[in-house]
Amino acid sequence: MSEEKKEGEIIMNACAIKPTLPFVTRKNIERTPASAENKKRVDFMDSHNFSFSIDKETGSLHCKVEKK
């Protein structure tokens, strides 16, 4: 397995899980405007169509990305 794929699998797991206790804080919550990189990524996602199909035999994902 290449290092890039291994790193991707580690860092792009994306999992979120419901906490058992509420969100409370003693601090003021600050705003954090989106980074330029984040905006660029979001702009790309919003301006393109993504379609996915699964190869039934191999289970692999085929994806198509087209500009809207």
Binding site: A14, A16, P19, T20, F23, V24, R26, E37, K39
Partner: protein
Amino acid sequence: MNIVKYTKEYAKLAKEFSCGNAVIDKFLHDGSALDVNRGITYVMLSDESDCIIGYYNIENGRVDRIDTIGDNDVFELMGGAININYLAVKNSLQGMLIVQDGDNKIYLGDLLLRDCEKRILDLREQTGISFVTVCSTDEGYHLYHVRNGYEDFEEDMSTVVQESDLRCHKLYKCVDDIVGA
């Protein structure tokens, strides 16, 4: 992209979904994802609707501020929130690069989260929401914190609440900071 509200008709597909985390898998497998009292679940399907690629569940919540006045802890509402209760990508598809635009790499988790955030922006038009909150696993932290600007809730959370043994990060983002807000 085929992201739809999860209903009973997809329950058979749900049985085939696994993200590698037993708790997140169980939420989809045991019918909890259909319980509206536990939030609303959305699934990313293949175009042929024959596979669940990923899913997320969102629920109304709140963020409270706690102040200690004398011997008493006083809770004050800071704002309404949408909590991303669960978000996960199918195990076999995690880390798969979907497309690269210059230096920007896009993964399935990015697409799921963007869909979730756009839905939250729509919800804000109907009800008052100030924050998005999420409790990320260690493995998910990079997506939320590094790539999408979610901040750690509070470094010293352990002095206020106690979490389970599962290592997680409580994160937030102000709705006003979602791209497109």
